[in-house]
């Protein structure tokens, strides 16, 4: 057997918080413990999904900033938009949509706007392999 991988460890701590700690708490402490468990869930999803966003950003840097993109293409695109040297055409908007769909799938797949985005841009959501979950 191999050692415990990061996602397994995170899942174990989440289960501990939700099943053993949370039932003993109430009020603000219970609320904060739910935030803690949810934060670990975000980290788990980030471990799986971060590389795809990094790759998407790198491709966007190559596409819209040619050779001038640095190590943070999303920031450089933001600065080009700020300088109005980059026109937000349909392709650029699709990049931003796919990027945001992927980020939402990590941060909060239950957000109502995420579900709306998946419905509005089904091809992008399918390409990103994401889908909105039912709200709590």
């Amino acid at each position: 057997m191999s050692q415990t991988d990061p996602i397994e460890l995170l899942a174990a701590v989440q289960a501990f918080l939700r099943e053993q700690v949370l039932p003993q708490l109430e009020g603000f402490d219970a609320y904060t413990t739910r935030v803690a468990a949810n934060s670990l869930a975000i980290v788990s999803r980030e471990l799986r999904g971060r590389d795809a966003i990094t790759a998407l950003d790198a491709a966007a840097g190559t596409r819209w900033l040619a050779g001038s993109a640095g190590d943070n293409p999303a920031r450089d695109i933001s600065l080009a938009l700020r300088a109005r040297s980059l026109e937000p055409d349909a392709e650029l908007q699709d990049y931003l949509r796919e990027r945001t769909l992927r980020q939402m799938a990590i941060d909060n797949p239950r957000y109502s706007g995420f579900r709306l985005g998946c419905e509005r841009w089904p091809a992008l959501a399918a390409a990103a392999g994401v889908a909105g979950e039912e709200p709590r």
Binding site: R75, S78, Q93, T100
Partner: protein, 343 residues
């Protein structure tokens, strides 16, 4: 949200200090104050609930205070709040226009041991959005709320600007857009979506119609509701002057619909009812395009609030888990902005 914190009574807020502050209101000593408990709130803001026992009656009250020496957000921060004494001055002005608000019993100045802050009536009603949007007992209220909110906003907007405390921020839209740009710059220009939205807001700024008092945080969560609808308007700390349509658009921001994206007004109502309620009092109402402009402004504003909270966490000014975690809600604002900008 709004849960009560267990125990932990602050050294300075006690039955004795409250009784001293309320001696003019009939308090005769520590025994006059019962049921003192702290309600959850921010690090620089304390909200306490208690009862004043006087002449055989028990009067439920709320104390809001900011402890001296607590961190105060810079004036250009999205988290900047009115001084509590100015907030206390706004409530009677709104009440005079027919807006239901708690009544201010006593203002505690800087020289008061408990100040700055104020004591107000503890109104009964529900403020938790989840309950207002889901419980059967509020089904009639949900049908009334959008129209009531429109009428109430129109009344707030009728407060005469000359009467306002001088601390109420009064900036043009152009100044506020410039401030948003400086915040995006300060936080590292990390979001192309935020920049895209700010470019759009700059290019599409509406001609100002009027410049009046705005509540500034008029949304589900800051409204006290009973079975018949709106009971009282709370949380005036973000009041400022501006375009009246801003308050209406803000109420419709998706982040304040609490999962009910299909109900544009606060997750409970329809645009037409909000605008009809406004027009019934004001004699006019903003058009939908202007309302949508302010929804975009609200969505970007929420993103900036999230970024400011991460910044507070990183600076060490607020090391709470809540602050760190809200940083992961930036993408909500980006999603809402992309949806709005395509319409």
């Amino acid at each position: 949200m709004n849960s009560e914190t267990e125990g932990g009574v602050d050294a300075t807020v006690s039955a004795a200090t409250l009784a001293a502050a309320l001696s003019g209101e009939g308090a005769r000593g520590p025994d006059s104050i019962t049921g003192l408990r702290r309600l959850s709130g921010g690090a620089n803001m304390e909200t306490w609930a208690f009862n004043l026992e006087h002449a055989g009656a028990s009067k439920p009250l709320i104390l809001r205070r900011s402890p001296l020496g607590s961190a105060v957000a810079a004036a250009d921060s999205p988290l900047s709040q009115l001084p509590l004494t100015a907030e206390a001055a706004l409530l009677p002005l709104a009440a005079a226009q027919g807006v239901s608000v708690p009544s201010v019993l006593r203002v505690l100045g800087l020289d008061d041991p408990l100040g700055p802050g104020y004591v107000m009536s503890h109104e009964r009603g529900e403020a938790l959005p989840g309950r207002i949007l889901a419980d059967d007992r509020y089904s009639i209220a949900r049908e009334q709320l959008a129209r009531q909110c429109g009428a109430t906003l129109a009344r707030i907007h009728q407060v005469r600007p000359a009467l306002l405390p001088p601390e109420v921020p009064n900036q043009t839209l152009q100044e506020r857009l410039a401030l948003q740009q400086s915040l995006l710059d300060r936080y590292g220009n990390s979001s192309p979506v935020h920049q895209l939205a700010l470019n759009w807001l700059t290019a599409n700024a509406p001609e100002p119609t009027q410049h009046c008092l705005l509540h500034g945080d008029f949304r589900n969560g800051n409204l006290l509701v009973d079975e018949q609808g709106l009971v009282a308007v709370l949380d005036w700390e973000l009041a400022h002057c501006g375009d009246p349509a801003e308050d209406l658009g803000y109420l419709c921001g998706n982040v304040w619909r609490f999962g009910r994206a299909d109900k544009p007004v606060g997750g409970f109502g329809e645009y037409e009812d909000l605008l009809a309620g406004y027009e019934a009092v004001a004699g006019w109402a903003p058009d939908m395009a202007t309302l949508r402009y302010w929804e975009v402004f609200c969505a970007l504003g929420w993103g900036l609030v999230c970024l400011t909270m991460i910044d507070l966490y990183r600076s060490g000014a607020d090391s709470s888990l809540e602050r760190a975690a809200v940083g992961r809600r930036v993408s909500e604002s980006e999603m809402d902005l992309l949806l709005l900008l395509e319409e």
